[in-house]
Symmetry: none
DNA sequence: CATGAATGAGAGTTCATTCAT
DNA sequence: GATGAATGAACTCTCATTCAT
C-alpha cells in the first residue's frame, strides 16, 4: 500500500471514529462513513469490508493513543496519593465530559462481539487500570500515606466502581456530586484507618 | 380496550421480552416481533408503533415483577450479614447466568433514550439497591455485626461495583472466581475492623 | 395464499417467462422482472427470492402446458408415418421460429444448475420424445409402413438429431433447407429398406 | 506491438481460457481475469476492452490449436471404419470428460453473439466434422467396408447426434452407456445392410 | 506501458409502514 | 379489530471503467 493509501486509511479511521462517537456502533452504516469521509461507496470498500472491521481499527488506534496517561503531568514530588487523586480526577473528567465519547460504541460492539481476552479493549483497559492503581497503593502503603491490607483487591474494587460509574454516565444523568462522592469514598477508604 | 385486547397486548409484551433478551434492543425489528408472536404486521401496529414503545412496556412489566427480591427466602433468625450475603449471592447468580438476559437490551435502550430519572429503570434499580443495602448495613452496625461509618457510601460503593460487574459480564468473560473475589472484598470491608 | 395472490403469482411467472425468453436466464435480474411486471421491488420478493426460483416456476408451468402435442390435430386415418411427419414438422416450426423462445434460458439454467434427473425438464422432454417416437415406429413397423430393427435406437437417434438442431438454431444461422434435409434423412431411414 | 506485449497478450488469453472453462462466458468479469492473471486492472484494458473481445481471441487460438485431430494416431493399415471408430472414441472421451471444458462458454457466447458463418467456431467445427466423416464414409463405401447411399447425409446425421450428445453432457447426467449406445447405433447404420 | 486507487452506477435484499378487505 | 399484500426507502456490495502517477 502506498503512502497515500496509508494516509487515506488513517483519515477514514479517524473520521469513522467521530461517527462512532456520535451514533454508537450498531447504528452506523457504511453509508454513514462514506458520507462523513466524502469518498465514494466503492472507495471505502477498498479499505474496509464492514463497520466491524473499521471499528476494530478505531479501537486499535484508540489503544495505541492511550498509552501514557500520566505523561508529563506528574511533578517529581507527587506522592502516590497525589497521583491516584490525579488519576481519579482524569477519570471524572471523562465521565462527565458532555461531548460524545466512544464508550457507547465500545459497549455496543463488545455486547455482540466475543473476542479473545487479549483483544478485548475493555478488559485491557480494566486490567491496566488495576495494575496502575495497585502499584500506587503499594507505594503509598510503604510511605505510610495509605493503609491497605489488600492492594490488589482495593485496586479491583476501584476499577469496578469506575466501570459502574461509566455505565451510569452513559445511561442516566450522573451529577458531578455523585462522582465526587464516589471518589471521596474511595480515597477515604485508603487513608481511613489512621 | 376489551378484555381480549388486554390479553393480546400482554401476550405481545411477553413474547417481545424474549426477543429483546435474545437480540438486545437495537437489533430487534417490528418484523421480528410479528414473527415471534405469530400475529399480523398490521395487528402489531394496533398496539405498538415501534420497538421503543414496546420495550418501554416490557420494562414496565419488568419493574412490577421484581418487587420483592427477598420474599419468603429469609428465615426469622437471619442476621443483616446473612441477608446481605444472600442478596449478593442472588446478584452473582444473575451475573453468571448464561441464559440471555434483558441486560444488553436495557443498556442499549438507555444509551439512546434519555428519560426522566423517575422512568429510568436502571436508576431505580440502582437506588433501590442502595436503599436496601444501606438499611442492612445500618441494622448490622447496630447489632455490632458490621462496622461502618458511612453506610450510604458503602451501599453506593457496593452497587457501583455490582454495576461494573454486570457490564463486565456482558462484554467479556467473567469467571466465577472474579465475582467471588469482589463479593468477598465487599463483605470483608464491612466486617473488617474488628 | 389468497386467490388474488395466486393470480398475481401467476401473472409474475408469465411476465417473467417473457423476460427470460428475451434475455436468457443468466442476464435477467430481479429488477428486470420488477420492471416488466410493474410491481414494487419488495413486492416481487414476497413471491420469489431470486431469479432461479422464479425460473423453476416458469419451467413447471412450461411442463404442464406442453402435455399433449398432438391433441386434435390428428385425423383418424393418419398412419404412423403421417403422425411422425407431423411431429417433425412441429419440431421444425419451433426450430425456425424467429420469435425468442425459452430455449436459451433453459440451456443457460441447466448449464449451471444440476438437478436430479426427474426435475430436469430437458431430460424429461427428451425421454418423452423418445417414448412417443418409439411407439410410432413400432406401430409403423407392424403396419409395414416402416422397416426398423431397433425402434428405440432409431427414436433416440432422432431425438439427438433434434437436440443438435435445436442448439444449432440457437447458436448459428440454420436455414430451413438444413432442417428439411435432416427430416428427410430421418424419414428415409425408416422407409428406406423397401 | 513489442515482443513483450505479444507475450503478455498471449499469457492473458491463455489464462482467460481457464477462467472461461471454469465459469462459462456470461459469468466471467474483467475482475476475474485481472485476478487470474495477476495483472493490474488498467493493464488488462490496454489489451482488451471487455470479456467478449477476450473470448474471441480465446476462440481464435482454440481453432488454430485443433487443426489435426488424427495426427500420428493412425497406422497405415487402418481402414476407414477404424478411423471413424477412432474419431467417435475421441468424441466420447471429450463428452464424458469431467474436467471443465470451454463448451459451456462457447454456447453461452454464441447464444448472444451473432457472427457471420465464417467466424462461427461451432459452425466451422460442425462443417469440418461433416467433411471428414463424409470422406471416411465414401472411402469405406469404395472398399466395401461400409454401405451408404448418402454419405453426406449420414455424415451430417452423425454430427447432429454428436452435437445433441454434447449439449446433453452439459445439461444433465450422461452415462457412458448412453454414449456407447449412440456410437454403436451410428456404426451399425453404416455396416448394416450386409 | 503499467499500476491500482477511485468513482459511481446498479443489483440484491430487508423492513417500517400503510391500507383495502 | 385483524389481516397480510404492497410499497418504497435505505443499505450492502460488486464491478466496469477511468486516470493520475
Amino acid at each position: 500500500m502506498s503512502d497515500k493509501s496509508v494516509q487515506k486509511q488513517k483519515y477514514i479511521i479517524e473520521t469513522a471514529r467521530n461517527v462512532f462517537m456520535e451514533k454508537g456502533f450498531k447504528e452506523v452504516t457504511m453509508k454513514d462513513i462514506v458520507e462523513a469521509c466524502g469518498i465514494s461507496r466503492g472507495g471505502l470498500y477498498l479499505y474496509f469490508q464492514n463497520t466491524a472491521e473499521l471499528f476494530q481499527e478505531v479501537l486499535k488506534l484508540e489503544h495505541e493513543d492511550t498509552d501514557d496517561v500520566f505523561d508529563g503531568k506528574i511533578s517529581k514530588e507527587a506522592t502516590p496519593g497525589d497521583i491516584l487523586a490525579l488519576f481519579l480526577k482524569e477519570q471524572k473528567r471523562e465521565l462527565l465530559n458532555k461531548k460524545p465519547s466512544l464508550n457507547m460504541a465500545i459497549y455496543e460492539y463488545f455486547f455482540r462481539t466475543k473476542v479473545p481476552a487479549k483483544d478485548n479493549l475493555l478488559k485491557k483497559q480494566f486490567d491496566g487500570g488495576v495494575y496502575v492503581i495497585e502499584r500506587l497503593i503499594e507505594a503509598g502503603t510503604e510511605t505510610g500515606e495509605f493503609y491497605c491490607e489488600d492492594p490488589r483487591g482495593a485496586a479491583r474494587n476501584i476499577m469496578y466502581v469506575l466501570e459502574g460509574l461509566k455505565i451510569a454516565a452513559q445511561t442516566r444523568k450522573l451529577p458531578e456530586s455523585a462522582v465526587d462522592r464516589e471518589i471521596l469514598y474511595i480515597m477515604q477508604g485508603l487513608f481511613a484507618e489512621e
